[in-house]
Amino acid sequence: MAVKLVFLGRLEELAGTDSASLDAADGLGWAALLAHLTEHYAPELAQTVAGVRVKVALNGVLIADKGGIVLANGDELAFLPPVSGG
């Protein structure tokens, strides 16, 4: 399956890109996703994404418990650091 990852704000800098495609087996969970990030990106990315200050949105919907997500083919997962707008 293919999943789109979106990195907002400072996470874009840590990831080196604003979005990426991830190919993985169906039903990818949070721990496996963090492992993927650790393997393919700067170590600080997975650490930051795992922290309480980074929220996630799955297909445009905020997820209260990001540890419980399970990704399916075609999903878009956005990593949202604290906002600093306006």
Partner: protein, 151 residues
């Protein structure tokens, strides 16, 4: 009732405010807030450009939700919320909020509340260019204090 827009190109605040005022002849008072890229802003007073990024699936829907809250909380004749995304240069407008109301207090409170919430809760991420380098901006403690005022 609310006019809520997320724009990716420059806009003319004076023209927007004129149109908003003309659309609300029954309002006695109109309070507006205009935020612009400060000349001499940023770290060391050398901000060359500012960029706001947004996330399409969240940003505009959340702005609309906020406008709905504002309209429910105060008695308004109209509300306008315009926010830029993208790269902006010094003196370019970033955000324009205007509230039209029969009573002055409602218009002031509505614009003030909308700005506090736009600043601290909207889905925007800001970076500044200074000395040719882009740097992401962290949220300010002041923004959280501002929003706490509203209980």
């Amino acid at each position: 009732m609310a006019d809520v827009r997320l724009l990716t190109a420059a806009f003319d605040p004076a023209a927007e405010l004129s149109a908003f005022t003309a659309a609300h002849p029954e309002a006695g008072g109109i309070v507006s807030f205009l935020g612009q890229v400060r000349e001499g802003g940023g770290a060391g007073g050398s901000c060359e450009a500012l960029e706001l990024r947004h996330y399409d699936p969240l940003t505009l829907p959340a702005m609309r939700d906020l406008a709905g809250q504002v309209c429910a909380r105060w008695t308004l004749d109209g509300l306008m919320v315009i926010h830029r995304s993208g790269v902006m240069l010094p003196t370019e407008p970033i955000v324009l909020v205007a509230a039209a109301a029969r009573h002055r207090r409602d218009a002031f409170a509505a614009a003030d509340f909308a700005m506090d919430h736009l600043k601290s809760e909207s889905w925007f991420w800001k970076r500044e260019k200074s000395g040719g380098e882009w740097r992401w901006i962290e949220p300010r403690a002041q923004d959280f204090e501002d929003i706490a005022r509203w209980g």
